[in-house]
C-alpha cells in the first residue's frame, strides 16, 4: 500500500506537481498496479539472469572523429527563452 507522502516524494523526484485530487487518484491507482505487479513474486527467479537487452550485442563503437554541429540558430531555435546564444532559465538555487 502506497501512502500519500510516498506519492508526494515520488512526484518531487519526477519534478511533477500534483493537486489533491491527483494525489488521491495516483495513490489508489499506483497501489492497484503495484499490487498487480506483486504477482511476479509467485515466480522464483533467484537463478534467473535479468534481460536488459534482447539483442546479444556488445562493443558498439564510433570512431573519434568530429562531425557537423547544429547551426547556432537551430541549436537554440526551439528553446522557450534565450539570450545571446544561451538558453535562458529562471534562477537556479
Amino acid at each position: 500500500m502506497l501512502t500519500k507522502s510516498q506519492v508526494e516524494h515520488v512526484a518531487l523526484l519526477a519534478r511533477l506537481y500534483l493537486d489533491d485530487e491527483e494525489k488521491e487518484r495516483y495513490t489508489t491507482q499506483l497501489t492497484k498496479i503495484l499490487e498487480y505487479a506483486r504477482n511476479l513474486d509467485e515466480l522464483n527467479t533467484s537463478d534467473v539472469p535479468p534481460t536488459a537487452h534482447v539483442l546479444p550485442l556488445q562493443n558498439v563503437f564510433r570512431q573519434d572523429v568530429v562531425g557537423p554541429h547544429l547551426p547556432a540558430e537551430e541549436a537554440i531555435g526551439n528553446s522557450p527563452e534565450q539570450e545571446d546564444g544561451f538558453f535562458k532559465v529562471p534562477r537556479v538555487l
Partner: protein, 484 residues
C-alpha cells in the same frame, strides 16, 4: 601527537582530450562560442541516441593501468538521474555497479620525504555536464541563469580513492602525483584552472586509534591545489573543534569559499539524493578482452616513479632534480632528448631546470611549445665546451633563441658573439685598460687583490663580454705582475 586524526578520500574528475565527445561527433574543443559545439545527441533532443567513442575506452584503460587497477572484463553504462538545467537529458550517462576498472593504488611522497600509498576504489567513464552562468537580480528584473551545452558530453574519468589519506598535505601530494601519472598517459591536460582536473574531497575526523569512521562532509568547489590544501586544513580543524565541544557533525555537502577561507554548507538540496540508476537501454555492454588490455599496456609510457628512479641511477641525478625533471612527461621527454644529443646529463639538468625553466615561467610557455628545441639546446652546450662562447654569453644567447627560435650559431653570427680567444687582441685591450685606470693598478700592486676583479670587469666590458674570461684573468695578472 594530536588526539584526533582525519580521514580523507578524494573524488577526482579528469577530462579526456579526445577529438569528439563521448557519445556523439561534436567537438570537445575548449572555448567555442556558446552552444556551437552541439548536435541532437549532446543537446538531448527527443529521439537522439548515444554511440560510444572507442577512444574514451582506450584512454580509460590507460589510466586504469597506470593506477594499477584491474580492468573489468565486462562493464556497462547506467543512467544517473537528477534534474539540473546543465544536464540536457536530466540524467547523466555514467557507470554504477560495473565500472571500467577497480582495486588500484597510487604511491606518492610528501614533502617530508615520507612515502605513502593510497588505494583506488575505481576508475569509471561518464559524460560531463554543461555550464551555467548565474545573473544577479537587477532592479525589477529577477535573477536568472544562462546555459551553454558545449561541454556537455565531453568524456570524463572519475577516479575515486579509498579513504587512505590522513592530512591536507597528503591530499595535496596525492593529487599532485595523480595529476602527473594521468598526464603521463597522455589522455588529459589535467589543468585545474581550466577545469580539466576537478577534485571533491570527503573528510571526517576520529579520535586517534579509533577504527570507526566519523561523520563525513563532502567539500566541493576546490579549484586549485592550494585550495585543496587550505580547505581540508580548515575543514579538519572545524570538525575537530566540534568534536571537542561534543557537538554533532552533520553529514552534508560544503563549498569552499576561497576569498573567506572557509567551508560553508551548500544551499539545502530539496530532497535526499535518489539517483535511480539503471542500465542505459540505449547502449550495449562493453567486453574488454585481455588482448586489448595488453595492447594498451604495451603502449603505456614509462611511469613517472620508474623514470625518477632511473634518472638517479642512470644519470646520477639528485632526488630533487629527478623529481623536477619527471614532473611532467613533456619535461622528462625534453630532458631525455637533450641527453641523447649531449651526453652530460647533469649539465643538461642544470640548463633545463635553470635558465630554460626561468624563461618558460616568465613567458608562461609550456615546454612542449618551447621554441628552443632539444637539438638547439644541445648545440648551445657544445659551443660552450669547444670554447666558442662563454657560459655567461650562452645565457644571453639562450634568451635570444627562446624569443626567436633561431639556432645558437645563427644568434652568435648575427650578434657577433664569438668568444675572443686571441691572446694578442686581449693583450692590446689590457694595455688600454691599464693605461686608463692608474689608480686601481697602483692599488693592486700595493697588494689590494680586489682591484684585479675591477680590472677584469673593465676588460670584459670593453669586449662586450666576449673575451674568454679565463684568458683575461691570466693575461691581466701576468701584465700587472710584470710591472711590479
Amino acid at each position: 601527537m594530536r588526539a584526533y586524526e582525519s580521514v580523507i578520500g578524494l573524488e577526482v574528475h579528469v577530462e579526456l582530450k579526445t577529438n569528439s565527445k563521448i557519445f556523439c561527433h561534436s567537438s570537445t574543443a575548449f572555448g567555442g562560442k556558446q552552444n556551437t559545439h552541439v548536435c541532437p545527441v549532446c543537446l538531448g533532443l527527443p529521439g537522439s541516441l548515444p554511440v560510444l567513442n572507442r577512444q574514451v575506452v582506450e584512454y580509460g584503460i590507460r589510466v586504469a593501468l597506470a593506477l594499477n587497477c584491474s580492468v573489468a572484463r565486462f562493464c556497462k553504462f547506467d543512467r544517473k538521474h537528477y534534474f539540473y538545467p546543465d544536464l540536457p537529458k536530466n540524467y547523466q550517462i555514467s557507470q554504477y555497479d560495473l565500472p571500467l576498472s577497480y582495486d588500484g593504488y597510487l604511491d606518492f611522497e610528501t614533502d617530508d620525504g615520507c612515502t605513502h600509498q593510497c588505494g583506488i576504489v575505481r576508475v569509471h567513464m561518464e559524460e560531463d555536464a554543461g555550464k551555467l552562468i548565474h545573473r544577479e537580480e537587477v532592479g525589477e528584473s529577477p535573477a536568472y541563469a544562462l546555459v551553454d551545452y558545449n561541454r556537455t558530453g565531453v568524456p570524463l574519468l572519475e577516479i575515486v580513492s579509498e579513504p587512505d589519506i590522513r592530512s591536507a598535505e597528503e591530499a595535496r601530494a596525492y593529487l599532485t602525483e595523480l595529476k602527473t601519472v594521468v598526464q603521463y598517459t597522455g589522455v588529459s591536460d589535467c589543468k585545474m584552472e581550466e577545469g580539466s582536473l576537478r577534485c571533491d574531497a570527503n573528510v571526517s575526523v576520529r579520535p586517534r586509534g579509533s577504527k570507526e569512521l566519523g561523520v563525513k562532509t563532502e567539500i566541493k568547489n576546490l579549484n586549485s591545489f592550494r585550495a585543496v590544501h587550505r580547505a581540508l586544513d580548515y575543514e579538519i580543524e572545524r570538525q575537530i573543534a566540534l568534536c571537542k565541544e561534543g557537538r554533532r557533525i552533520v553529514q552534508e555537502t560544503r563549498s569552499w569559499d576561497e576569498a573567506k577561507g572557509v567551508t560553508a554548507p551548500m544551499r539545502g538540496k530539496e530532497e535526499a539524493h535518489d539517483y535511480r540508476y539503471f542500465p542505459d537501454p540505449d547502449l550495449v555492454p562493453l567486453v574488454i578482452s585481455p588482448s586489448w588490455i595488453e595492447s594498451v599496456r604495451r603502449d603505456l609510457p614509462e611511469p613517472p616513479d620508474a623514470r625518477r628512479r632511473r634518472y638517479q641511477e642512470q644519470y646520477g641525478l639528485s632526488v630533487y632534480n629527478a623529481r623536477v625533471l619527471t614532473g611532467s612527461r613533456e619535461t622528462a621527454e625534453y630532458f631525455e632528448e637533450c641527453v641523447r644529443l649531449y651526453s652530460r646529463p647533469k649539465t643538461v639538468a642544470n640548463w633545463v631546470m635553470g635558465d630554460l625553466t626561468r624563461l618558460l615561467n616568465a613567458e608562461q610557455v609550456e615546454i612542449q611549445d618551447c621554441r628552443v628545441r632539444p637539438a638547439q639546446l644541445a648545440a648551445l652546450m657544445r659551443l660552450i665546451d669547444d670554447g666558442t662562447i662563454s657560459g655567461k654569453i650562452a645565457k644571453v644567447i639562450l634568451e635570444e633563441m627562446f624569443a626567436s627560435g633561431k639556432d645558437p650559431e645563427t644568434v652568435i653570427r648575427e650578434k657577433d658573439l664569438v668568444q675572443i680567444t686571441d691572446a694578442g687582441a686581449i693583450s692590446g685591450l689590457i694595455e688600454e685598460v691599464l693605461a686608463g685606470h692608474p689608480g686601481p693598478v697602483a692599488d693592486y700592486r700595493q697588494g689590494k687583490g680586489k682591484a684585479l676583479g675591477f680590472l677584469v670587469g673593465q676588460v670584459m666590458k670593453a669586449t662586450k663580454g666576449k673575451a674568454n674570461p679565463a684568458m683575461v684573468n691570466d693575461l691581466l695578472k701576468q701584465k700587472l705582475d710584470e710591472g711590479k
